[in-house]
């Protein structure tokens, strides 16, 4: 198992380098990078020392080397608007985003598991059709619009919940609710279809032949096998989650990394966007690695192949 993780780590690092090269090229794609680095107030003289600081006079590979070494020291350059180091700003905003992401991920996973399994085991009953309808609705409606309607209903009309900002638990309800409701359909559909496949299999037929009660058949025999397929999409779901968070944070003006980035894009504050992209890449790659390890735990056959 150890060797496998080592190799996967290597692959992730390669992917990370790939992404950093992509950003490096992108920065220079629009001509002189200092145009991007300069916000409206910086004078020509400031632009010149940015150019020197970035060593733009040196050859391309050398520039890339400087770019990477500064990266490794965690120095993502300074925000053009706020003049503060990017890393600091990201670290400040990260905890808020993490709270939002973990809460909604947890909520949606639990509900999706429950509804997915129930939907699969009671096929074509009112429950199954109801679940399917919510799934289709959830995937159809844009999450920012849903959030706005939720604000209108719960805050403006019913005045139960705050319209935005963080602080008390009440602030959490709407953002987490809308984000979870948006991811829920995708996961639920995956679990339901993988559950249906497993329920058709021979070993489930054998479990029934043994005379096992339905409950045991579903929650012991079927579920564990049914979790293998959705796991492969965990990376994809996580990417959707990050996208969703950025949007929800903007709607609820939640001080997370998402809003920070959107505002940075507004102000053409390139270093922040670049820093966030790299950070997200690291998170995504780690999540993939964790999923692979979890994979081996659930499916013994893979565990044996990999040691």
């Amino acid at each position: 198992m150890g060797r496998f993780i080592l190799v996967r780590l290597l692959q992730s690092i390669v992917a990370l380098v790939g992404i950093s090269v992509f950003i490096f090229i992108l920065v220079r794609a629009a001509g002189d990078p200092t145009i991007l680095m300069r916000s409206s107030q910086t004078s020509e003289e400031d632009a010149q020392n940015i150019r020197v600081q970035l060593g733009l006079d040196k050859s391309q590979p050398e520039q890339y080397w400087i770019f990477v070494t500064s990266l490794i020291h965690g120095d993502l350059g300074d925000s053009l608007i706020k003049r503060k180091p990017v890393t600091e700003m990201i670290m400040a905003a990260l905890p808020n985003s993490l709270k939002l992401v973990l809460a909604s991920f947890g909520l949606s996973m639990l509900t999706a598991l429950l509804l997915g399994v129930l939907g699969a085991t009671r096929r074509d009953t009112w429950l199954d059709n109801g679940v399917k309808f919510i799934a289709i609705l959830g995937q159809a409606v844009p999450n920012f619009w849903l959030a706005i309607v939720a604000i209108y209903v719960f805050s403006v009309v019913l005045k139960l919940l705050p319209t935005s900002g963080t602080g008390s638990l009440a602030h959490f309800v709407l953002p987490v609710g809308t984000l979870a409701f948006w991811i829920l359909p995708g996961i639920m559909r995956l679990i339901r279809s993988s559950m249906l496949d497993v329920l058709d299999s021979e070993y489930i037929k054998l479990a029934r032949i043994k005379g096992l009660p339905e409950g045991k058949i579903i929650w012991k025999h079927a579920l564990r096998n049914a979790l293998i397929a959705p796991l492969t999409a965990a990376g994809f779901i996580f990417a959707m989650l990050i996208t969703g968070t950025a949007v929800i944070e903007t709607v609820f003006s939640w001080p997370g990394v998402g809003r920070l980035t959107v505002e940075a894009v507004m102000g053409l504050d390139f270093p922040i966007v670049q820093g966030v992209t790299l950070m997200v890449a690291v998170i995504v790659l780690t999540v993939n690695l964790l999923v692979d390890i979890l994979y081996a735990y659930i499916d013994p056959q893979i565990r044996y192949q990999r040691t």
Binding site: Y203, L206, G211, H221, N225
Partner: protein, 322 residues
């Protein structure tokens, strides 16, 4: 070999699909004696597997329904039981082995776990005794080094060994009746012979009655005491195995035996039955083998032949005979 353990009378199982009602099993009757191996042989789609599944009341949903007849196992009519009562029967009184060993076992649980599960379910014995019971089940099926094998996963075993584990699961709660649905079809010839010899021994030691469902006449000859030949949802002939091979009375049975190449002699030209079995959606009136039968008479096309006893334990449904 005389006490009847299972009596099936006029069993009718239909599948209600959008395209219409598929009459998979149409009035099947037979009995199985204690300690006997009763063979059900026929081509694919003749209803032999559906008959087996109907006895366990485990038809593929949503369309499968038993619409008529009685299944009496050791004095109890299984069709009269509630779902809960029937569930208690499964595994304890009657059990089943499926065809493909590669998919019959749950890939993510160990062998020991899957056997212990049915032992704990049906035999109320203290936990420390369960392990012994599991090992004795494995030993019954002659699986080498059972203590070691407990912790193995299915993918670590060959097809033949897995089919033995499925056998161990089925026999772990000492059922009175075992239904084997083509258990050897996916195995190689030598492993198949091994499996059949093994099950003959298991039958001797445990006295379990076996219904052996297959399309392979070689297996029928080696394994079964009595045989029923099925065609398009009905039993056309039932007799002792030797009589079926040496003196088949129904045209389909004899045609089927003649179209199987023999290993002990060089056949010049095999007899081949023309055409295909009728679709179960719109069945012709009269005898179902009528369109393909060489001895077809006018009446065969109109009325279904009744079952006639033409010898000791030898029943045939054909107008030519009665």
């Amino acid at each position: 070999m005389n006490k009847i353990i299972l009596q099936v009378e006029d069993l009718r199982t239909y599948f209600f699909t959008r395209k219409g009602v598929v009459k998979a099993v149409e009035g099947v009757s037979f009995h199985v004696n204690e300690g006997e191996t009763f063979g059900i042989v026929g081509e694919s789609g003749c209803g032999k597997t559906v008959t087996g599944l109907s006895i366990l009341r485990l038809l593929p949903e949503p369309a499968g329904r038993i619409v008529g007849g009685k299944i009496v196992l050791d004095g109890t009519n299984l069709l009269a039981l509630s779902k809960k009562e029937m569930r208690a029967f499964r595994g304890r009184m009657v059990s089943m082995i499926l065809q493909d060993p590669m998919t019959s076992l749950n890939p993510v649980y160990t062998i020991g776990n899957q056997i212990a599960e049915s032992v704990r379910l049906h035999q109320n014995i203290p936990d420390n005794k369960v392990r012994e019971e599991v090992i004795s089940a494995l030993r019954l099926l002659k699986i080498p080094a059972p203590e070691m094998r407990l912790r193995d996963y299915p993918f670590q075993m060959s097809g033949g060994m897995r089919q033995r584990v499925v056998g161990a699961i089925a026999m772990s709660c000492h059922p009175r009746l075992l239904i084997a649905d083509e258990p050897t079809t996916a195995l190689d010839a030598t492993i198949q012979a091994q499996y059949i010899a093994l099950f003959k021994e298991v039958q001797k030691t445990t006295g379990v009655a076996i219904i052996f469902i297959t399309h392979d006449f070689g297996v029928v000859a080696n394994m079964c005491h009595r045989v029923a030949v099925m065609y398009s949802g009905k039993i056309v002939e039932t007799a002792k195995t030797r009589e079926i091979f040496e003196a088949p009375k129904h045209p389909y049975t004899s045609a089927l035996i003649e179209s199987v190449p023999r290993l002990d002699r060089k056949d010049e030209r095999l007899y081949s039955i023309e055409g295909q079995p009728p679709s179960l959606l719109n069945l012709p009136p009269g005898c179902r083998f009528f369109p393909r039968c060489d001895y077809a008479m006018e009446i065969c096309g109109e009325k279904e032949p009744a079952e006639v006893e033409i010898g000791k334990d030898h029943f045939v449904s054909c107008w030519n005979v009665s």
